[in-house]
């Protein structure tokens, strides 16, 4: 979204009414999409994976933003920007809350090594694949912007959706399932990449009064997340009822994400740290927090995808090339990681699991990383990034569904994955 849209007046009452009704229809659809009955129908039709991943909502958002449809023009997107900030914070908080110490400790050392290989090789291969394209296509090639964009792409591409046909249930016999462990470790790659980019590649903004080195911003990000986590902990300890919990969580995430955005940091990372802190502090209302997060997770996620879809600017070839290279980079990087893991005698999944993991979708966190870049930085490359990451998310989502149904070789156990994937959104 570009700055010039600020304050653009709505022309007529009928235009405003059309926009409001359109937006409400879209949001109502998002709510309906989250309804258990609709989800049961999706499962029966065996399209739950695609729907659960929110692909239709991205497409709807894109259609709504088309000038001929006119439901989400630039000025509406500008008004919706606070919703994006809140949604990014929410996604970061949910991912962070999932990283409780018990979950991490239950991941075996050799599985963690494999996870590290998967993350590193995927990150490196995307960096090379997409970096080469950016060198050719990016007008500012050779400057810090090139590294920033390449790291952002690699961070987004490293993430693997935490739910879907490629992920089994979390624990088997008291230990984390190895695949579950590998998938969750990839989230860290995305978060760390975004942390580094937001700290060391500061946007140029004359209104900022704090001029600090990148390392200071890195520690401010971690400190802010920790402080907010502590505050949320103290805040939650002093409320007891369900609706107050919702208000406190919404307020805390809005506050943390807003501060992060104000400081030109990543709301995802700050809220991730806050969620991580909260998950690892002892408190008796953990189940209530989890249920509140789960209750709001899907509607917020789907609304986020709607708005993300409206950010797509599909008329430049570079975005499509990035998409293809991102898919190729993830598949290549993961394949290399399996081979290295085999040679290093650490954990290597079975053939079927390996195939599914190689084709595993990027998930919502990857899309969030790209959208976060759009909020942080301006420039011609950022829209390519958004198209590339969202496009790659859709392609990998379709690939993994094909794989689960045996269309790409292998067994195909569509019934079981459908049950798994329907458990929630692929954050």
């Amino acid at each position: 979204m570009e700055g010039p849209a600020v304050g653009t007046p709505f022309r007529t009452a009928s235009e405003v009414i059309k926009i409001i009704l359109g937006l409400v229809a879209l949001f109502a659809l998002a709510a309906l999409g989250a309804h258990p009955k609709v989800r049961r129908l999706e499962r029966r039709l065996r399209i739950s994976g695609v729907i659960t991943a929110g692909i239709p909502f991205v497409i709807l958002g894109f259609i709504a933003s088309l000038p001929s449809v006119g439901v989400m023009p630039e000025n509406v997107l500008w008004v919706l920007r606070p919703v994006l900030v809140l949604a990014l914070g929410w996604i970061g908080f949910v991912v962070g809350f999932r990283f409780d110490a018990a979950a991490i400790e239950s991941i075996q050392r050799r599985v963690a090594t494999t996870g590290f290989f998967v993350g590193s090789f995927t990150f490196a291969s995307i960096l090379i694949f997409c970096g080469l394209l950016l060198l050719v296509a990016e007008p500012a090639a050779g400057t810090g912007t090139f590294f920033r964009d390449a790291i952002l792409l690699a961070s987004a591409g490293s993430v693997i959706a935490h739910r879907g046909p490629h992920v089994p249930t979390r624990r088997e016999g008291g230990r984390a399932d190895p695949i579950w462990g590998i998938v969750h470790l990839q989230h860290l790659a995305g978060i760390i990449g975004l942390l580094i980019v937001a700290a060391y590649f500061r946007p140029n903004d004359s209104t900022m009064t704090w001029q600090l080195p990148g390392t200071a911003w890195l520690f401010i990000t971690l400190g802010l997340g920790t402080a907010i986590g502590g505050i949320v902990y103290a805040t939650l300890s002093s409320v007891k009822s369900g609706s107050d919990f919702t208000v406190v969580l919404l307020g805390s995430v809005g506050f943390a994400a807003g501060i992060a955005g104000f400081l030109r940091l990543s709301p995802i990372v700050v809220c991730f740290v806050a969620g991580f802190m909260l998950a690892n502090l002892p408190f008796h209302t953990r189940a209530l927090v989890r249920s509140t997060l789960v209750r709001l997770e899907r509607p917020i996620y789907l609304v986020f995808l709607l708005v993300s879809g409206s950010l797509l600017r599909v008329n430049e070839w570079q975005g499509w090339m990035i998409m293809l290279l991102l898919v190729a980079g993830t598949i290549f990087g993961r394949s290399v990681a399996w081979e290295v893991s085999r040679r290093r005698h650490v954990y290597v999944p079975g053939n079927e699991e390996k195939r599914r993991l190689t084709l595993a979708p990027l998930g919502a966190l990857a899309v969030a990383v790209a959208v976060n870049a759009q909020l942080l930085y301006y420039g011609p490359v950022i829209p390519w990034l958004v198209v590339g990451v969202i496009g790659a998310s859709i392609i990998t989502e379709i690939l993994v569904q094909f794989s689960a149904r045996g269309f790409l070789g292998g067994g195909g156990t569509a019934g079981e994955p459908a049950r798994r994937e329907a458990e929630g959104v692929p954050l």
Binding site: F27, D244, L263
Partner: protein, 448 residues
């Protein structure tokens, strides 16, 4: 602990704003709105619970948070952020009116109709007259009367009298819900404030049109009647449509209705005001239809209760932040006089109306306090007044705003005391389904 947290929130907010003090637009605009949303939500919630522990209404805590954090005191929340957050206002008002409508069960209200009728005729219309007369008599204190002829002064006094009589269904519903109040006083007050809203709108339209003619502006009676008919009948029609939609959703979709209710409230507020409908009438009609024509009245109330706290907290905090403290400085003394006259008028005339209606003693004694809160409608009418009479509008509107500011702070406290003394506070929770007890309405009782 709660005070400490409030200080921490304020400190963080101040530090954040010091980073980019001029950055309310541009890149930080969205973040500024998000941080203001989070800050107001958290601070107001805690301030509300602190106020509650002192026996004051939680919503007064929300309002005070807004005033203190707003641009006129500490300046922690900027004006552009507040303008962005005003999107919650329409939705909150629609939700409140939806609640009001859903509370208006014909069967339950029937025994109270006589009291409601007399309260509107005697107390509401009586206060309108008394206020108009007082404003006319005090015109020497008000500089905008200086150049008016006597007949013009009578007209302006009448318009201001009507404007200042407006009550606040929002505050009444919020307090009723917060106090879990149930009984003849809270029901009668609810009925009166909802119906007198319509009366005030109607009378304002007629009186302001007549007064315009005194200033040499032509007022087409047919045009005024047409505008009123469009606003009222159109709003009722839209409300019926919205009510059918809600009833249909509850019947056929079930579950997950909270988001749908919020979306409907958003449409009623945003679309309604853009086509000159009154969102309050639309939502109230929709709520009343769901309550009286379907079996989903309680379901609607439960859905609103479960999902609207965040909207209400932000709404009252934003309202507090936009209270015109500076208006009080300009017209503080006359505004205080009119507030006093208004309050005394409502209290004493409620006794008279109660006697005429042979209402039970608690209604005579306490219902008057429920008519005192003032907020949205008075502000909207003040705005309309300043648009209709641009030559004297700014100062005159400041007078209304000053009165609203005082009423917003004082009246909820008085009505809270009245609900406690009448014995109705907490009665709703005792009547509820045991499974729902402890599930908070507008505010929880949990944290004490």
């Amino acid at each position: 602990m709660r005070v400490f947290l409030l200080i921490v929130f304020a400190g963080l907010m101040h530090a954040t704003r010091s980073f980019a003090p001029q950055a309310d637009a541009g890149g930080a605009g969205a973040a500024g709105t998000a941080v203001a949303f989070g800050y107001l939500l958290l601070s107001a919630l805690f301030a509300g619970s602190i106020f509650k522990s002192f026996g004051l209404p939680r919503l007064t805590g929300y309002l005070v948070t807004g005033i203190v954090a707003g641009p006129q005191v500490l300046g922690l929340v900027s004006m552009p952020a507040l303008e962005n957050l005003e999107i919650f206002n329409g939705m909150a008002i629609a939700l409140i009116a939806l609640t009001a409508g859903a509370e208006l069960g014909v069967r339950e209200m029937k025994p109270l109709l006589r009291s409601i009728f007399w309260l509107i005729v005697v107390a509401v219309l009586g206060v309108m007259g008394i206020l108009s007369l007082t404003i006319y008599l005090c015109r020497d204190l008000l500089p905008f009367f200086d150049h008016l002829t006597m007949i013009q002064a009578v007209g302006v006094a009448a318009v201001l009298g009507v404007t200042m009589t407006a009550q606040s269904p929002a505050v009444v519903i919020a307090l009723r819900s917060e106090m879990q109040a149930e009984g003849p006083v809270s029901r009668t007050v609810l009925g009166v404030v909802v119906l007198s809203d319509l009366v005030v709108i109607l009378i304002f339209a007629v009186v302001s049109s007549l007064t315009r003619t005194l200033f040499g502006n032509s007022a087409d009676a047919l045009e005024t009647a047409g505008r009123l008919a469009w606003e009222i009948l159109g709003s009722v029609g839209a409300g019926v449509l919205a009510g059918l939609l809600l009833g249909g959703f509850f019947k056929y979709v079930k579950g997950g209705a909270a988001l749908f209710v919020l979306a409907v409230a958003f449409v009623m507020a945003e679309v309604g005001q853009r086509i000159a409908f009154d969102p309050l009438i639309i939502a109230c009609t929709a709520g009343a239809l769901v309550r009286n024509a379907t079996s989903f009245g309680h379901k609607l109330l439960d859905e609103i209760e479960g999902s609207s706290l965040a909207v209400y907290v932000v709404f009252f905090a934003v309202t507090g932040a936009t209270i015109h403290i500076d208006a009080l400085r300009m017209v503080g003394i006359p505004a205080a006089i009119f507030v006093l006259v208004r309050g005394t008028g409502f209290y004493s005339l409620t006794w008279v109306a109660g006697a005429l209606a042979r209402a039970p003693l608690p209604i005579r004694k306490y219902a008057g306090f429920g008519l005192m809160p003032q907020a949205g409608l008075a502000l909207a009418l003040a705005l309309l007044f300043s648009r209709t009479f641009p030559d004297l509008g700014v100062t005159a509107a400041a007078l209304v705003l000053g009165g609203v500011a005082i009423n917003e702070m004082v009246a909820p406290v008085l009505y809270r005391i009245a609900l406690v003394r009448s014995g109705e506070a907490g009665a709703a929770n005792a009547d509820r389904d045991p499974a729902l007890q402890g599930v908070p309405a507008l505010a929880s009782e949990g944290e004490g």
